[in-house]
Symmetry: C2
Subunit: 216 residues, 2 copies
């Protein structure tokens, strides 16, 4: 009862609010109304107010929203107010790119381990963190509290590794392998798929559609 489910559409917009509020804060803006924010972000003021009121009333009639307060509250909703230990499995270019991100989500993400399948890279370092063999995963996960695992490895290994992760207590996976992991794991495991090819195909679709329109 209570606790109506927040829709995916709303959740997907929260990071963007957080980002814009952060930029406003950097530019020294203290308060903002839903109307002003709506012009900035090109969404309706109604949507902003509806979205925020899923989580509570953060504004004040006649005044608007305090930028810092609202940014911080959205940060809390997104879980940015506490630390998350993360490991990366697969240290190809993409894995390295993620390992090198500075200030991931405002510093709340900490990379505590790197793993790879390829024998030849095991023992080498990325940014002072040694790359371990995936065979060490179970023992590593027993010794360390890890919340999030990132999969940046080929599709063919992804499912097997994901199952090992889940068996050893991981319940959140950020998946870059080109397969829908969520359909292959227990339902309570949180999987966020990033399919870059899908994104690029949406781009080529739009290119194609625009070119065909031109021809008419």
């Amino acid at each position: 009862m209570g606790e109506r489910q927040i829709s995916k559409a709303v959740i997907s917009r929260l990071p963007r609010y957080h980002r814009y509020l952060g930029e406003l804060l950097n530019s020294g803006t203290e308060r903002i109304s839903s109307g002003e924010l709506s012009r900035l972000m090109k969404v309706t003021a109604s949507q902003i107010r509806q979205d925020l009121n899923n989580f509570g009333g953060f504004g004040q009639q006649g005044y608007g929203y305090n930028v810092r307060y609202l940014r911080d509250e959205i940060g809390k909703i997104l879980g940015l107010d506490h630390d998350h230990a993360m490991i990366i499995i697969g240290t190809g270019h993409l894995g390295k790119a993620l390992a090198n991100y500075e200030n991931f989500n405002r510093g709340s993400i900490h990379i505590v381990g790197l793993f790879d399948i390829r024998k030849e890279v095991i023992g080498t370092k990325v940014r002072n963190t040694e790359i371990r063999s995936v065979e060490e995963l179970p023992s590593f996960l027993k010794e360390h509290e890890v919340e999030i695992a990132v999969l940046t490895l080929p599709k063919k290994n992804a499912t097997e590794i994901a199952q090992i992760l889940v068996e050893n207590g991981i319940n959140a996976i950020w998946n870059f392998a080109y397969t829908d992991l969520n359909l292959q794991l227990p339902e309570d495991v949180i999987v966020e798929n990033v399919h870059l090819s899908d994104s690029l195909m949406q781009l080529t679709y739009r290119l194609n559609a625009a070119q065909q329109k031109e021809e008419n």
Copy 2:
């Protein structure tokens, strides 16, 4: 006239259909009904049929869909049936990761140039392609037909480079910089934003929400 606008939701599902059909094809499946595909992909059969019928009738009553034919037709809709020349601006780890992708979108994407701002990497090679200075962009774009530009560079340079690209004829940008480029460029420029931080925040949101539920 006619040509009702295809919704974003539909377009975002097409790459996934394409992927599943490709896998079915690889496994030797010749035909499939919307019902079977719906069980496989965990979507409703109704949705599959509605989605496809935005583009035409690809099936046959009493038979279903021919896997290869449907896959190819969706490929055409996504623009995978002809080549797209692409350049990458920003050759950090992420840029390199994309430059090294094999068989991008079934071979329809060809990387024809790499560019960077950092003097020290100019002249070095990634996979036989020399990294050029961004200063060469205008002349390069005059000499080569390029359809898509990928931005894998820091946010602070992204807008300026994007404007140079657009001035020199690029009208499709795959943007990995953490800013909403589409709001800063002419409306007819196609921008596909990939905000990895946003994706990760959706993951931490769900983690957070799950943990709070547990506490109750």
